[in-house]
Amino acid sequence: MTAGTRRLPPGRVEEERFTILADGVPVPAWPGESIAAALLAGARSPAYFCGMGVCRECVVVVNGQAGVRACMTPAAPGMTVDTLPRRGSQA
């Protein structure tokens, strides 16, 4: 597959693609990509608002560790990412 329509051309080489497991679904990612970028490019509609580590809306559980900011944390091969229910949707 290609880098996907939302990814801009420069920088990623096909051989370096790996997958992360987002809520049980394999999602492609590239070295250096943030978890949030991989989820967004993978059409997962992630919680992503400020994009600079401030709002903490993007926090996910990574390999069992809670409170990880998806916009500031690079994806890594084999990473398991669990997204949290959005507060706004619980009401």
Binding site: G51, E57, C71, S89
Partner: protein, 475 residues
């Protein structure tokens, strides 16, 4: 504890300029930054793992970045400065390297955050801040959406729209709340003092228009629609008083809505340090009181760039340099230092006048509270709606602190960054007083959330225990 002549918080334009000035004059520097690469939001780069990417080498960004490798500079990336435990000392969390820095002078160049404002649907996935959109494109090479509406107030909207267009997105509309077109004509004169920026803005506008972007001025997004993610955006006219005309609604399909109502300086550290602040909407809200040397009311603590008062990249560079020169001049008053300081003062003056002209053109409606409906969450993190806030006010919780403690507003993960300003507007309007006169909640450390584990790495002597007369000495 690390020591340095100057400790700088933030490796964006202001912090890098300050660092360059400092090492250039022989000072030792500790430079702490929350990001993994230097540049801040303005000079954000793609990840270093990306291939064939034009690294910022030449130009002014390249010159600014050189300081990172300087032998007198200790650079701490991925580092959160979370407290000012005593004068001249900063506490920071950076994994196993966490600790404290003591310095003769501290320069806070902490940058700014977006100031998005509530409207129905603003918590839907697909609604992102202008800064979030910029970072996704510039820092990750990913488009945040395909069909995008950019909306809010201020000059950054044009920048966000142009970045999206260059990234291949369709920018359906740029929605500006200020009646910009009417004003711009009469005030072209004041802007023509900076012809380069003006020409750039006009050229971007033409490029967007040619690509099909509609420019809607004097209008605002009144609702973002979608089941589980954004699908459409409704827009209506807003007048200078903030009245919304709901009889003339335009609805556009979009999978991404980029919102921005200007920026707010990140003043957590200057507040924690006990610096006096004043409230100035034109500078982004709360801003530390600063002398002409950019020193705050706490001696030896300087605040520069957008982290002190919103003014943009050029001003940030000049301010970063000025603060370091001022600190140097307190030690030795050489003629060449004084000359450089005077030249910078003239530059600051000119840039400050330009800032005022831009702020004037983009002066927003008096209020955006008319966009909030009873069911709109004002606090995103704790999902506190306008109706809940009004309910708590009706029961007697009329102050900011009371509203906060009865509703949990601002007690969530963003620590009030996106809701306290709106709460202040609501309370001030209700009581007919200015926002500066309200009981804003106190700020306590940590300035930003840090991992407990990081703090355990801090090599700090344990606190002295109070002497207990009942215990034998030495036990």
């Amino acid at each position: 504890m690390k020591t340095a002549d100057i400790a700088i918080v933030g490796a964006g334009p202001a912090g890098l300029a300050a660092a360059g000035e400092a090492v250039g004059h022989g000072l030792s520097v500790v430079l702490m930054d929350d990001n993994s690469q230097p540049g801040g939001q303005y000079f954000r780069q793609l990840p270093h793992q990306f291939h064939h990417v034009d690294r910022i080498r030449g130009g002014r960004a390249g010159r600014l970045f050189k300081v990172i490798d300087h032998p007198r500079l200790h650079y701490l990336p991925d580092c959160v400065v979370w407290n000012v435990p005593e004068a001249g000392v900063l506490a920071y969390a950076a994994g196993a390297d966490s600790g404290r820095v003591r310095a003769d002078a501290i320069v806070v160049a902490a940058g700014a955050t977006d100031r998005p404002l509530p409207f129905p649907g603003w918590t839907l996935p697909g609604v992102v801040t202008a800064g979030g959109s910029q970072n996704m494109i510039k820092g990750q090479g990913v488009r945040p959406g395909e069909h995008v509406v950019v909306a809010g107030n201020g000059p950054l909207l044009l920048v966000a729209a142009m970045t999206l267009l260059n990234a291949g997105a369709t920018v359906r509309a740029l929605v500006e709340a200020a009646p910009f077109q009417k004003r711009a004509r009469s005030r072209l004169m004041s802007l023509s003092r900076s012809p380069t920026l003006l020409a750039q803005a006009l050229s971007w506008r033409l490029q967007l228009a040619a690509a099909g972007t509609s420019f809607l001025t004097g209008q605002a997004v009144i609702e973002a629609h979608g089941a589980s993610a954004l699908e459409a955006v409704s827009i209506a006219p807003i007048d200078h008083l903030g009245n919304v005309d709901r009889t003339h609604v335009t609805t556009l399909r979009a999978d991404c809505l980029v919102v921005g109502n200007g920026l707010a300086p990140a003043v957590e550290l200057t507040r924690l340090a006990g610096c006096a602040h004043h409230h100035d909407p034109l500078l982004g809200g709360w801003t530390p009181r600063r002398s002409a040397d950019l020193e705050t009311t706490v001696p030896g603590l300087y605040a520069v760039g957008d982290g002190a008062a919103i003014g943009g990249m050029e001003l940030a560079l000049a301010e970063g340099r000025t603060a370091v020169l001022a600190a140097l001049l307190q030690r030795s008053a050489s003629a060449s230092l004084r000359r450089r300081r005077r030249n910078l003062a003239r530059r600051l003056d000119r840039l400050n006048r330009f800032r005022a002209a831009v702020a004037d053109i983009f002066a927003p409606p008096e209020t955006f509270l008319g966009l909030i409906t009873p069911a709109t969450p004002v606090c995103r993190c704790e999902n506190v709606t306008l109706a809940e806030l009004e309910g708590s006010a009706a029961e007697g919780a009329t102050g900011m602190v009371q509203q906060k403690s009865t509703t949990r507003l601002s007690m969530g993960r963003c620590q009030g960054r996106y809701c306290l300003a709106t709460l202040a507007d609501l309370v001030a309007t209700r009581r007919g007083i200015g926002v500066a006169d309200l009981d804003w909640p106190r700020i306590r450390p940590p300035a930003r959330p840090v991992r407990l584990g990081d703090l355990l790495h801090e090599a700090v002597p344990p606190p002295a225990l109070p002497e207990d007369p009942h215990l034998p000495r030495g036990s």
